[in-house]
């Protein structure tokens, strides 16, 4: 057993676990988080996705003891009580059917937009390719990502010159 320190959604946690324990089970069963879910245990489907320093990571194959960065789960995506623009778009586009995979869809989309704020349609497809949905809500997922991109582009063009250059902050 080993004491592992994790930063999750802005809080620090210490857990005493076997070093090989996948992060997924620590998040779900020790920290009581519900966003990341077991889908395959093989890093093939994306249901277990979390962000580590903003990068989409499959928690089912990541040993908790190996994590050094800041972990964000679906629960931690909102800022100051405001849902992430992607989550708002997900509701506006009424994306989920069953919704079990949507944790991985939303977080992978967030990582995609972090790296490329204005992806083309084909970049969205490529960036999301590894996240599976067995209800086949893909068309709605892509619509929600496009809506987010369009709105952020629109707000950029509507922003003041200082805001556009970052001088306002």
């Amino acid at each position: 057993m080993a004491v592992v320190t994790l930063s999750v959604n802005g809080a620090t946690h210490e857990v005493d676990i076997e070093a090989s324990t996948p992060l997924l089970y620590v998040l779900r069963n020790d920290l009581d988080l519900k966003g990341p879910r077991f889908g395959c245990g093989l890093a093939q489907c994306g249901a277990c996705t979390v962000l580590i320093d903003g990068v989409a990571t499959r928690s089912c194959v990541t040993p908790a003891s190996a994590v050094r960065g800041a972990i964000t789960t679906l629960e931690g995506l909102s800022q100051n009580g405001q849902l992430d623009p992607l989550q708002q778009a997900w509701i506006a586009e009424q994306v989920p059917q069953c919704g079990y995979c949507q944790n991985g869809q939303i977080l992978t989309a967030r990582a995609l937009l972090n790296a490329n704020p204005n992806p083309s349609d084909s970049e969205i497809r490529a960036g999301m390719e590894g996240v599976l949905c067995r209800c086949m809500s893909y068309f709605r997922i892509q619509a929600a990502i496009k809506r987010t991109v369009q709105q952020s582009t629109a707000s950029f063009f509507n922003a003041s010159p200082a805001e556009k250059t970052g001088a306002a902050s």
């Binding site: 210490e14 879910r37 889908g39 489907c45 679906l74 009424q94 919704g99 079990y100 939303i106 067995r134």
Partner: protein, 797 residues
């Protein structure tokens, strides 16, 4: 250990749905509530909190199913003039919960946002059977509408007495009844019955027949029905706050994983418990004949233990099945276990003899699986001699009854609580795992959570039956269809039902057998084609081993429809091409030649086909597209139509495909679906469910096949069992709502189902579009790139 420990983790979606449960909702509750402390717990709790509180407080039940003849079972009016509806359904993510709430709000005359809905909790909601068959709106919506209408009638009578005014002179606005023309004289629903019971008994021989004295509203008076109200369940699925069935935790809970036979039909000879008993967190190895599970304190410990457990198995004396590449030859060589009666109209033999042109084709569809994104799971709590099962099983009442019989418990000591989970499009392994969790919980006397692993889910979940088809069609000299023959073979013997205590997987592995295996069935096509001479028949065939095998059939989304409609609608397309006719006009002409039926399927089929063609911009010409024959380059494109009905819902789909002749990849670029399901409760919700239903069909067309060698399934993960992905998603999807009823404004317009009808013709639409692009027929599902390249190389049609 961690600094945060799970306590009672409660389903917030139910908490959101029911802010205050009124003790007047349940006479049984009053009888049971013996102390003030208990009542205070109960008053503030949502149904699942209440269930857990009772368990924690040492309650052993009983948990009878509420009486569906009592209006109070269905509808509760709260003191704050809001309402809660209790329905015996589940919502697998198709938005039916939102639709039920709309239907009941409309009949009760209360705003949508002043009502909540509770579903699928066997000791709180009446037994409507859970879900299945896309009949929630079509069938179960009627008792919901009628009970809400009856509640409204009773409230009007109470208001009449309270206001000393005849009912005819009263008006209702959102839960307030006023004297017409004198709004100051009014009374609210809450003032009339808030916090109290209606005490009204309904009549009806079964739950679908129940009614009071009131009639439902005519369509013209409906206001909430027909609105695209956003689904209430979506925000909590998007912000991470929803508690799913996978998330429920109970004090003392342990984790189990199954260990399956490595070969279908194998016998477990020995288990070496010492191979795992020294591992951290070990609780038990549980072993009954060929059922085997390990139980550990922590989830990852159970996963490691299941992998580490040393076992010895003896394979069966004969191969349990042929390898998947030989499956269709095997099926055609078998003597059927049963055959349907031949459905014959006219004189097909004479018609074929006289036909100017006869064509024949064979079609093949492999086993396809549910393969849920989240493997099957359940949590069972055995405390105090009762059994509570937390599950996403869509037939929650069947789960309760089946488990009671399996464990030899009184029915009212067992309850099942539906919570959200991964897709439940039919008879999934959610049934099997609920029994496993309950069995292990009873054995160990502790709450046990079981989840299947990926390989287990993909290999052992129930399959949609494999099919072979032989089709024959006759055209006269003018190219008109005069005869058709359809012969199907379904590998469907021993089709398992829902939650049967003698066919669930754990029962099979324990050696339990029903008196007779289910005969299964091979379905006939649903169409409205007036071909004068027809012969149709279906045969069922069997594999060598039918028990304790991963190749077991159960209902998968529209259980036979995608297979049957692929063969039938692809062959109709072959006949149209042989007649050098436009595929839409060819079908319209056959529908014109048919007789009308009680659901106006002829008129609605014509309207639906025309709506699809018009929306698409269909120009009349035969297939294949003559321009494509001369096309250079890798990519050719084509269009295809397929049509069917399912129950009362009529659907026509047009697919635009691009085929890469070098890679074999098919890309469906555009989909148009015309959809007539009568009165639509929530248009946007329905359209999005249809979108996803079509894409699920597309996944089955392009990718899905369960493969196996001659002893085990070899499709065990997402590499060996590919599914549709983001890159396969069409660029454009249009769903057109059609009302093709000959009396479209009639006040009793029925509401039919969605979700499965649109799934049904998808494979055929893709195959027909592929032919339009290439001139080649795809007659074996799925259309993976290697199969497409084979077809392009080998077939000149």
């Amino acid at each position: 250990m961690s600094e945060t420990r799970p306590g009672l983790t409660l389903p917030s979606e139910i908490a959101d749905a029911v802010r205050s449960v009124n003790p007047a909702t349940s006479r049984r509750g009053f009888l049971k509530a013996s102390g003030a402390l208990f009542i205070s717990v109960w008053l503030g709790a949502n149904p699942t909190e209440r269930a857990l509180a009772q368990t924690a407080a040492g309650s052993a039940g009983p948990y009878p199913i509420p009486d569906y003849l009592q209006l109070d079972t269905w509808i509760v009016i709260h003191p704050d003039n809001t309402a809660t509806f209790h329905v015996g359904k589940t919502d697998g993510g198709q938005g039916t919960g939102t639709a039920y709430r709309q239907m009941m709000c409309d009949e009760l005359d209360i705003a949508y946002d002043r009502a909540t809905l509770v579903m699928g909790n066997t000791d709180i909601t009446p037994d409507q059977g859970g879900s299945g068959g896309s009949d929630g709106i079509e069938v179960d919506g009627w008792p919901m509408r009628r009970t809400a209408a009856e509640a409204r009638r009773v409230l009007l009578e109470l208001a009449s007495a309270a206001l000393n005014t005849p009912v005819a002179e009263l008006t209702i606005n959102n839960g307030t009844i006023a004297v017409a023309g004198n709004p100051s004289r009014s009374v609210t629903y809450a003032e009339l019955v808030g916090g109290r019971r209606f005490d009204v008994t309904l009549t009806g021989e079964n739950i679908n027949q129940i009614r009071g004295l009131a009639e439902v509203k005519p369509v013209q008076d409906l206001r909430v029905i027909g609105q695209s109200i956003p689904r209430y369940d979506i925000p909590a699925k998007v912000d991470g706050s929803l508690t799913w069935a996978v998330d429920v935790k109970l004090p003392g809970m342990v984790h189990a994983r199954n260990v399956r036979p490595p070969v279908a039909g194998a016998t477990l000879e020995s288990v070496d418990e010492s191979s795992v008993s020294g591992m951290p967190g070990f609780v038990a190895v549980v072993h009954r004949r060929n059922y085997l599970a390990v139980v550990f304190e922590r989830e990852e410990q159970a996963i490691n233990g299941a992998r580490a457990l040393r076992t010895e198995w003896t394979p069966p004396s004969e191969a349990p099945f042929p390898p998947s590449q030989d499956l269709f030859d095997y099926m055609r060589a078998q003597t059927p276990t049963s055959s349907s009666r031949e459905v014959i109209s006219g004189d097909p033999d004479a018609a074929f003899a006289a036909a100017a042109h006869v064509l024949e084709a064979d079609y093949e569809v492999p086993f396809q699986g549910h393969t849920a994104i989240g493997p099957a799971h359940a949590l069972a709590d055995p405390s105090d001699g009762q059994m509570t099962i937390y599950s996403n099983d869509m037939k929650i009442y069947g789960l309760r009854l089946g488990v009671a019989r399996f464990l030899d418990m009184q029915e009212d000591r067992v309850r099942a609580i539906y919570m959200d989970g991964p897709q439940v499009y039919g008879r999934t392994a959610a049934d099997d795992v609920g029994f496993e969790a309950a069995f292990l919980a009873k054995e160990l006397g502790r709450p046990v959570r079981v989840q299947w692993m990926r390989d287990e889910e993909t290999a052992w979940d129930t399959k949609g039956p494999a099919y072979t088809f032989r089709m024959r069609g006759g055209l006269d000299a003018a190219g008109r269809p005069v005869a058709i023959e359809y012969e199907a073979r379904a590998l469907d013997y021993n089709h398992v039902g829902y939650n049967e205590p003698d066919t669930v997987l754990i029962a099979q592995l324990m050696g339990i057998r029903p008196a007779q295996p289910a005969q299964g069935g091979a379905a006939l096509p649903s169409n409205q084609y007036g071909i004068a001479h027809q012969r149709m028949v279906g045969h069922v065939v069997s594999l060598p081993i039918i028990w304790e095998t991963p190749l077991r059939c159960g209902n998968l989304r529209d259980p036979n429809g995608p297979q049957v409609t692929f063969a039938f609608e692809a062959f109709i397309d072959e006949m149209a091409a042989a007649a050098n006719a436009d595929p839409v006009e060819f079908r319209l002409s056959m529908i014109e030649d048919s007789a009308e039926d009680g659901q106006f399927r002829k008129a609605r089929s014509l309207a639906t086909m025309r709506a699809a063609a018009e929306t698409y911009g269909w120009d009349s010409r035969p297939s294949p597209n003559p321009l494509m024959a001369a096309a250079s380059g890798a990519i050719v494109s084509g269009r295809g139509i397929a049509y069917t009905f399912r129950s009362g819902t009529v659907v026509a789909i047009i697919a635009d495909v691009e085929v890469n002749r070098e890679t074999g990849r098919i890309f469906v670029k555009r989909l148009v679906c015309a959809h007539d399901c009568g009165l639509v409760i929530n248009p946007t919700g329905m359209k999005y469910t249809v979108e996803c239903g079509m894409l699920h069909g597309l996944s089955r067309a392009l990718w899905e096949e369960v493969r196996f060698d001659n002893e085990k399934v070899t499709s065990v993960d997402w590499a060996s069992h590919p599914t549709l992905r983001h890159s396969d998603t069409p660029e454009s999807i249009e769903v057109v709502i059609v009302n093709g009823d000959p009396h479209p404004g009639r006040p009793d317009l029925p509401h039919y189902g969605a979700g499965e009808a649109c799934h049904k013709p998808m494979i055929a639409a893709v195959a027909n579009a592929f032919h339009d692009a290439t001139g080649v027929r795809l007659r074996r599902v799925p259309f993976r790139p290697e199969s497409v390249l084979d077809a392009l190389r080998n077939q000149v049609s």
